[in-house]
């Protein structure tokens, strides 16, 4: 029995160390964000604030233009997600249910595209976006979100195999056309992959830094990432305000994570299969 307790001790010790390493860097950010500038300079990073000072949050939110960031991120999120879900499901429906000449070449095009790391082709994509007149327009990021999305198409395809073809056939015999079959039979059965894609792509869009940074430098087009990145200059030494900005960005993700934990795990695992 003694051996068991020793191994259990080490098991929990490792877990505690892992948890501390994962939490501590974030925890000190929360602590620091409530300190006044004066208290921040005179106290250690681990000492708790004497009283909760919310003024940093106000400064970060108002002067840091985070409201603009949330607004633009929300616009990009809604349009990109609607596009992804609609285009992805329709595409997967057509590929999964019908045979046509170009089916094989189209599939190979998507397979090969998975290999291209998006960040490497930015050099040429920039020229393309520029020549389309989309530079410094919110559409640049939205269209790139739609145009380089292969993963959601794959997720839809996996699930379509599980919807019995007999459902389509009986609807067809009842006189439904392909659009009606898609709208009334296929789409309602694709709720599970839609949740997966919403989570995977949603987190991706919320966290996207590079595309907005490169294609939308206009201050009125700040998204949440670029708004936070802009703290680097003016608040360079004002840590409490930066920390408050970080917390403002983290908080929505934390809330979503706590509420949808199970779906998030399934989504992340499902997306790599």
């Amino acid at each position: 029995m003694k051996k068991f307790t020793v191994s259990a001790f080490f098991k929990y010790l490792i877990l505690v160390i892992g948890a501390v390493i994962a939490i501590l860097p974030i925890l000190v950010v929360f602590i620091g964000s409530f300190k006044s500038n004066n208290e921040f300079l005179t106290s250690g990073v681990l000492s708790l604030p004497k009283h909760l000072d919310f003024s940093n949050y106000k400064t970060a939110f108002v002067n840091g233009q985070m409201l603009v960031g949330f607004k633009n991120t929300a616009i990009i999120f809604v349009i990109s997600m609607a596009g992804k879900l609609l285009l992805g499901s329709a595409f997967a429906y057509a590929i999964n249910r019908f045979d046509f000449k170009l089916k094989k070449p189209i599939m190979s095009l998507f397979m090969v595209a998975m290999l291209i790391p998006a960040i490497t082709s930015q050099v040429a994509t920039f020229q393309l976006i520029n020549s389309m007149g989309l530079f410094n327009k919110i559409w640049s990021v939205i269209i790139l979100n739609l145009g380089t999305d292969v993963v959601s198409i794959y997720i839809f395809m996996q699930y379509l195999n599980e919807i019995p073809v007999s459902l389509d056939e009986s609807a067809f015999l009842d006189g439904a056309n392909y659009f009606q079959i898609f709208g009334k039979i296929i789409l309602p059965n694709l709720k599970a992959p839609m949740v997966t894609i919403l989570i995977i792509s949603g987190v991706q869009i919320y966290n996207d830094f590079y595309n907005p940074f490169l294609y939308m430098p206009d201050p009125s087009l700040k998204v949440i990432s670029t708004a936070l990145f802009a703290f680097k200059g003016p608040y360079g030494t004002n840590w409490p305000v930066i920390l408050a900005g970080v917390v403002i960005v983290i908080l929505p993700i934390l809330i979503v994570f706590l509420a949808l934990q199970k779906y998030i795990y399934n989504g992340v695992v499902g997306s790599v299969k």
């Binding site: 191994s7 098991k11 929990y12 877990l15 892992g18 948890a19 994962a22 501590l24 860097p25 000190v28 950010v29 250690g44 992805g88 595409f91 429906y93 057509a94 590929i95 249910r97 019908f98 189209i106 095009l109 998507f110 595209a113 290999l115 291209i116 790391p117 490497t120 082709s121 930015q122 050099v123 040429a124 994509t125 020229q127 393309l128 269209i143 145009g147 380089t148 198409i153 898609f182 966290n207 830094f209 590079y210 990432s225 670029t226 936070l228 990145f229 680097k232 930066i242 920390l243 970080v246 960005v249 983290i250 993700i253 934390l254 994570f257 934990q261 795990y265 992340v268 695992v269 790599v272």
Partner: protein, 279 residues
């Protein structure tokens, strides 16, 4: 029905393939990105990348991230194994370990700038353990800064690998463990003879992803050190060459080289996986 596929195919051709073709074309010229004209220079740009140390040395930085990948996978495997057996508060540990993966890259950049700054979190912890003479300028000192950045990357991505491994381990039939336990196999034997063979494929896949991942590191060093003091990565160098120094031809050549490496690594992985499953 072809109608349903037209828009995705057009988007794919325009935003994935057209830039690729253009990039190959640019890489053979000395174009600066805005002049109306440019000259054909053949393979000169490719030669520059491989011979000029300014461009080639950045591959050295990738090595830090590549080695870090193995630590990352090791930690992920350790935690996944621990949590695949009966543990108290399993959901709490799982959530805490996974959460960093969901965080915004810019936020992580600031979190770790704060972590590594003088009198910051790391220094405080080291003082607490009486290690104050080991304190360094974590992001300034060239002997340690890439390790600091690579650790940030490990912190960020371990949770992802952990979750994937945990899923793979949990999909192993529990009867196999029961049978092993009845035969007197201890935890280490179970790990070695059941878990490792059971997740071999996914482990291998994650190592390969680590190779391409370590070559395409961008946001953490860009946000934290802007690639200064020897922390420049291949992608930061490529982006700077294109948009800061306006050498679009050269930058295209760099991007093509990176792409070729990633494709070669992926093909090796695909072939190896196929051969294994054929055996």
């Amino acid at each position: 029905m072809v109608l349903f596929t037209v828009i995705p195919v057009i988007l794919l051709l325009v935003f994935s393939y057209y830039p690729l073709v253009k990039m190959i074309q640019y890489s053979l010229t000395d174009w600066d990105g805005f002049s109306p004209s440019s000259n054909f220079v053949g393979l000169k740009n490719y030669k520059t990348v491989f011979t000029n140390p300014t461009y080639f040395s950045v591959f050295r930085t990738s090595l830090y991230y590549f080695i870090a990948t193995f630590f990352q996978l090791g930690f992920a495997l350790l935690f996944a194994t621990l949590l695949s057996f009966k543990v108290k508060f399993a959901n709490f540990w799982k959530g805490v370990l996974f959460f960093p993966y969901l965080l915004n890259g810019v936020a992580i950049g600031f979190i770790f700038l704060y972590f590594y700054k003088q009198q910051g979190t790391l220094d405080t912890v080291m003082n607490f353990f009486g290690l104050h003479n080991q304190i360094k300028l974590w992001l300034g000192d060239r002997s340690i800064n890439n390790i600091s950045l690579a650790f940030t990357s490990v912190w960020r991505y371990t949770g992802f690998n952990f979750l994937i491994f945990l899923g793979a381990i949990q999909s192993i039939n529990p009867e196999v463990y029961e049978a092993a336990e009845m035969d007197g196999a201890n935890r280490w034997n179970q790990f070695k003879y059941i878990i490792i063979p059971g997740i071999k494929e996914i482990l291998f896949l994650n190592i390969i992803l680590g190779v391409s991942g370590s070559l395409s590191v961008f946001d953490i060093p860009y946000i934290m050190t802007s690639g200064s003091n020897g922390t420049n990565t291949f992608v930061i160098q490529t982006i700077d060459t294109a948009f800061k120094y306006n050498k679009l031809g050269l930058a295209s050549a760099m991007a093509i080289i990176l792409l070729l490496i990633v494709i070669v690594v992926t093909v090796i992985q695909r072939v190896a996986t196929r051969e294994r499953s054929a055996n």
